[in-house]
Symmetry: C2
Subunit: 145 residues, 2 copies
């Protein structure tokens, strides 16, 4: 087998499907903390493959990199995370999925009501009012501050 398990950034990119620049960007954001060779090249742990895969998955669930960082804060960067570690943060993700599904089902229900009435006519419309609730986490017009 290979002498040690440290991966250069290109390998990690190939194995995660991420671009090299994206991985460097994630490092900048503190999501991964690779080691460095004496010549300053990044060397990643095998466990970083999981870490990055997790980032991809969490992103697709709509979490921002900041939120992902928080979630990953529980995972020790030095130690290869074990099943219990993953179970914990996967559990958090699972809750998020459940919440999203529930929200979507609510929308669908409201929309079905609206299809009948052709409304979408504000104030009195369930869909419209629901909108303000499931707005958290959506895109929508930005309200700064």
């Amino acid at each position: 087998m290979k002498a040690n398990d440290l991966l250069p950034i290109g390998d990690l990119a190939r194995r995660t499907g991420l671009s090299v620049s994206a991985i460097r960007f994630y490092e900048e954001k503190g999501l991964v903390e690779p080691l460095r060779t004496s010549g300053n090249q990044r060397r990643f742990l095998r466990s970083d493959i999981r870490r990055l895969s997790f980032i991809l998955i969490a992103q697709k669930l709509g979490l921002s990199l900041g939120e992902i960082e928080d979630a990953l804060a529980d995972l020790p960067q030095g130690r290869t995370p074990n099943a219990a570690d993953w179970k914990k943060i996967s559990g958090e993700v699972r809750q998020r999925i459940d919440a999203q599904i529930a929200a979507l089902e609510k929308v669908r229900e409201d929309l079905d009501g609206c299809i009948g009435c052709g409304c979408l006519s504000l104030k009195k419309c369930a869909l419209y009012n629901a909108g303000d609730k499931w707005g958290e986490g959506g895109v929508g017009p930005r309200v700064l501050r």
Copy 2:
């Protein structure tokens, strides 16, 4: 009752919860096409309230403004859309919701499998591979071109 049903932009903003600047931005994008007074001020049809509400809803389902424009292309800009019009495009949205729910259920299922094995370890991992499927429409690392 009021002489005619043309609304200035501020009224529309108040009634949709959007900001004035956002509505102007949507016009720029071709999502609404208000009339103009002789003095060049925008005047919106009542039906634009629905139109904008629909935009808000569709956005929260993760559609981009471009996709929303496509969906709305079926709605005539001059004529007040009727129940059948709305039914048609609401139907499209409903399908989208269904698809999203199904995708999330798939992820949840896979994640449950992964919690057991603590994997997330690529290639062989269902979650990882699923990722590439439900990636369409997600955020994720940008791949241009």
